[in-house]
Each structure stands twice: as C-alpha cells, then as structure tokens.
C-alpha cells in the first residue's frame, strides 16, 4: 500500500450533479494506487474547522493523476468545498482505508448496491471489475442504486459498466422503495454483494445476504477525527475480538471502511 500523506490537490473541475451533490475532480499524486472503496480526507481551509472530511473516491484517472469525488453538502466543511474553482487547491489526506475486495468477484455474479451518497464509490468499483482480466473478472455485474427521487446522479456512467436497476423512494424512476425492492422486483441474482449506503440499508442487505447465502462486503461510515487509526473515534462493533484493538471494536478508517458483513455487528 502506498504511503499515506497530506498534500495539496489542484481542483480540475467542479459542477453540481444534483441538488446538494457536487462532482469534483482533483489533480493529486494520491491518484497513483487507489482501490475502489478507499477514501481521502479533505480539509476545510476555514481554520475553525480542523478535521479532515472523509470522502469516498468515485473515479480514478491514474494517467492524469486525477481523483473524482462526488459528495453531498452536509455541513460547513462540504459547503466550503463546493465553492472551489478550477486552479484552486485543497489540502487532502490519503489514501485512506482498505477498499472493496475485488478478488472475491472472480467468476461470480456480483451485485453492486448503493444508496444515497453511498452510490459514488461503487462507480470506480464497477469500472475496475469490468476491466479485470479473464479469470479474475466476475461472470456478471448487476448494479442496483437507490435514490430519493428522479435525480439519479451517475446513472449513465453506471449503465456503461453493467446492468443497472434503480430504486427511488418516490417511485419516479425504476422500482418504488429501496434497493432490495429493486432486487426482488427484477429478480437480480448474485453470489457476492458490494454495498455502500446508509446504515438501515446496510443492515437490510446484511440480512438479505445471510438469508440468501450471499457474501456481502459493506462500506461503513462513522464520525471520524484522525482518519489514520490513531484516535479510535470511528469504531464499529465486531462479532469477534478485533486483532488490533483486542476488544470487539474495529477501526472503520483503517481496518475498513469495507468489511465482510458477517464480521461486523451493525
């Protein structure tokens, strides 16, 4: 794994994708070795807000040394990020976390499930799974994304990488309801699930995977401070004693954010 660092990243472009959802491309040397599902910490310039904001990586362009972040404006930090213009610089910390285990996909039917602002990291995963060499690539890629309404950001890009099924809370696009409603309605089959989204969705996916004997890898979120495993702020309960902490707590920032759903007590 590449050495972590705090560095400056140059804004290449930024636009709004949907209400409150920003699409930001950064030029940074951190783009060199990224696993889908990893994240970076982005620092507000406002000195009253000192902690890095964990934001998942939506796309990587190694040739251009570029990372794409698709994030939701949720507070003063992300509101500040939304104002950045091309040519300006942001401080970033990375690369953080483990990422999705793509080796589990070899020869198997995979289902990528995203909800809300958990959707973006699955785009890089879909793209990397699609271009895996024969023998390592999945036999089928199904993508099931859940949105609030018809603002189905990143939809076209997902369609380029697999069969896309959409669920919307208001029923305006695809199945009405959540991602599992879309799975049932479309009879989507899978051997392996990769998921990122709000906790109620991840809990439901964990149960669905258990009931259907599917392996599920879920990306978790928690309030974070350091991002590098030192502060023990962002822990998640584990089923077994954690090898690092020696208690039933694991660090989402360093041992995750992606976990085998069987291993975490959510």
């Amino acid at each position: 794994m590449a050495k972590k660092k705090k560095t400056q990243a140059k804004v290449l472009s930024q636009r709004m994708l949907a209400d409150g959802i920003c699409d930001l491309w950064l030029e940074t040397s951190l783009a060199e070795h990224v696993n889908p599902g990893q994240f970076i910490g982005v620092y507000p310039a406002n000195a009253s807000a000192l902690l890095p904001r964990p934001i998942s990586i939506c796309r990587v362009n190694e040739g251009r040394n570029a990372l794409r972040l698709v994030y939701r404006i949720v507070g003063k930090g992300t509101a500040e990020f939304a104002l950045y213009q091309p040519g300006e610089y942001l401080s970033v910390l990375g690369i953080l976390g483990n990422g999705f285990p793509m080796e589990k996909a070899a020869g198997r039917k995979v289902m990528l499930m995203g909800g809300g602002i958990g959707v973006p990291p699955l785009l890089e995963l879909a793209a990397q799974l699609k271009r895996l060499p024969e023998g390592q690539k999945p036999s089928q890629i199904s993508i099931v994304m859940g949105y609030r309404d018809a603002q189905t950001f990143l939809k076209e890009e997902f369609e380029e990488n697999g069969a896309l099924y959409i669920a919307t809370e208001d029923g305006s696009v695809g199945s009405r309801g959540n991602v599992l409603d879309a799975v049932r309605e479309n009879h989507v089959e899978a051997d392996v699930i990769y998921a990122c989204g709000p906790m109620p969705m991840l809990r439901a996916i964990k149960k669905y995977a258990q009931d259907n004997r599917i392996q599920a890898y879920i990306s978790l979120e928690e309030r974070m401070a350091c991002g590098v495993g030192a502060c023990l702020g962002c822990v998640c309960k584990t089923v077994h004693e954690d090898a690092h902490s020696h208690v039933n707590n694991t660090r989402i920032c360093t041992d995750g954010p992606v976990f085998n759903a069987e291993d975490v007590d959510i």
Binding site: M224, A225, V228
Partner: protein, 301 residues
C-alpha cells in the same frame, strides 16, 4: 544550541512530545512523522485489561477544536508490552506510557507490569472526563489525587507524571497535592468537559452526551493553568492543550512548561510535531537563545 530538556532525571532530545490518545502508540503516525525526531511519544492510555470504550459517535468537531468521548478504549497492558513497546524501541525517542484504571489496584497492576519494560516515564491519567469509574474521580479532589499519587510512587519503578484535569476550581492546589505526594512531574491540561447538541436531530452529538474539548480553542486556558501550576510547584511540567505551532509551544514553555505535547492538531496536520520542532529551533536562532532551558518559565511576575 541546546534543545534537550530533563524530566525526573530522564533526558529528552527536545521538548516536543505527543499528547496521549492523539498518536496511538506511534505506529499510525510513523508514515508521516519521523518518530526519531520526537522528544518522546506519550502513548494512548493503557489499563490492566482491554477496555472497549464508549458507544459511537465518539467524536465531533467544534469551533477550533473537537469533543471526544472515546472512553479510553485500549487493548490492555499485555498487548502494549508485546506489540507497542517493541515497536517504539526501534526509534530513538523517549517513551512515556499513559496509564489508566478504574481502581487504585488497576493502576498498580499496570505500573508493576511496566516496571521492567523499556519505558522512560509513566504518565498517570487521573483526568479522563469520559469514563464513569476511576480516572477523573482521582483527579478532581486534592486528597484523592494525593492518595493515588502516593500509592503509585510505592509501586512504580519509573518516575511518574500525574496528568491533571482542568475541570477543577484551583489547579495550583492540585499541582501542589501531586508534588507533595511525591509525583516526579505533572502534565496538563487534559480535555475540558464539554457538550454539543445536534439541532437538526435534536440530540446530543456524542453518544456519551459529554466529551472532552481539545484543540486550539482551549489553548489560552491551558497556558493559564500551566502558568498557575508552575508558580505553585517545583517539579517539571509537561504543557499541552491546543498546541498547533512552535509559537504555541514556546508560549507554554515561557509559562513554565519543561516539555510540551501536540495533541488534537496531529489530526489536522500529521506533520505538526515536525514543524513545531523546526519552529522552536528557528525561534531560538532568531532570539539568540543558546539553551532552551533559558525559556522555561521565563515569563512570570
């Protein structure tokens, strides 16, 4: 130019340390900071047995700082001895282990287990605001602080630093109690008890309701308390509380700290300790200070 300082007979190459709980046991920050350049690593607090800590959310940002209620999650002293202390031994840095407990017996068990370990000093945490039993119960009353200090002095092989809470009426009285009971040094301040409310969810921002405030927001309080403690006692002081820059560190030293620790600001800038070390040297050059010890407590009545 001399930047080395001495605490209880132990010499440190410079006065810059890491505040307990903000730097793990060094491993997590070794990718950023050269641990060989640090005066010392002060480890995350360790108890006699593993502690699971508090429910999440455990951390929340506040203006110019953060609140935490980790609850002293730690893997226990045995893991520290097997894993963390051998790791730290690879580096040319001082090692100070922060010790926590729920009862005096817990603390004694930890300091006894550490007695033959490569540890320079023990920092006794009697000031964590986030655990119900022990910890701060020993640190908010002068007689309780005196008692635990006296007991630990009987069992500890290494010199002990009592880490004081700012959540007291009179810090000088606490510093005096620690000194009178035989503490070799004191460190201050631990975090200041605080609270944040999420107005959208109409809930406490932390699962523990209250947490310890740290970061630049608390620095003036910390400098004041270090100054008051320095006026009250002769034992050395490790000063901490919101140190972000060399200028901040020098303020603490001028107020009476022999050494300083960078805490929450490691999270903002994982290289912060390195720039504080460099900045102190630069300040000494600019101000023609030959020996850093000239600065310790140089500002007073």
């Amino acid at each position: 130019m001399n930047t080395s300082v001495e605490i209880a007979g132990v010499s440190f190459k410079n006065p810059v340390m890491t505040a307990s709980g903000t730097f793990g046991s060094g491993m997590e920050y070794a990718e950023f900071a050269d641990l060989n350049r640090l005066g010392a690593v002060i480890t995350k607090g360790v108890a006699n047995v593993p502690w699971p800590g508090n429910p999440t959310p455990r951390v929340v940002e506040t203006y110019g700082g953060m609140l935490n209620a980790i609850g002293l999650q730690n893997p226990g002293v045995d893991v520290m001895i097997e894993r963390d202390l051998p790791y730290l031994q690879q580096f040319d840095t001082g090692v100070i282990v922060n010790v926590c407990g729920k009862s005096v017996e817990d603390y004694i068990e930890v300091v006894e287990k550490l007695s033959d370990q490569p540890v320079d000093l023990l920092e006794i945490n009697v000031s964590c605001p986030n655990v119900k039993e022990g910890a701060i119960a020993f640190g908010q009353k002068a007689d309780a602080l005196y008692n635990i200090t006296e007991q630990l002095k009987k069992h500890a092989k290494q010199p002990i630093i009592m880490k004081l809470s700012p959540n007291v009426t009179d810090i000088a009285e606490m510093a005096k109690a620690a000194e009178a009971a035989g503490a070799d040094a004191i460190s201050l301040i631990n975090t200041i008890t605080g609270m944040k409310i999420d107005i959208d969810k109409r809930r406490f921002a932390l699962a523990n309701k209250t947490g310890g405030l740290s970061g630049p927001a608390i620095k003036p309080v910390a400098v004041r308390m270090v100054y008051q403690a320095a006026q009250a006692v002769k034992i050395p002081i490790i000063g901490m509380g919101g140190i972000a820059t060399a200028e901040d560190a020098i303020e603490f030293i001028l107020a009476g700290a022999t050494a300083v620790a960078v805490g929450m600001m490691n999270f903002h800038d994982p290289y912060a300790t390195m720039s504080v070390i460099e900045g102190i040297e630069k300040y000494m050059q600019m101000q023609h200070v030959e020996d850093i010890r000239e600065l310790i407590g140089a500002v007073h009545d």
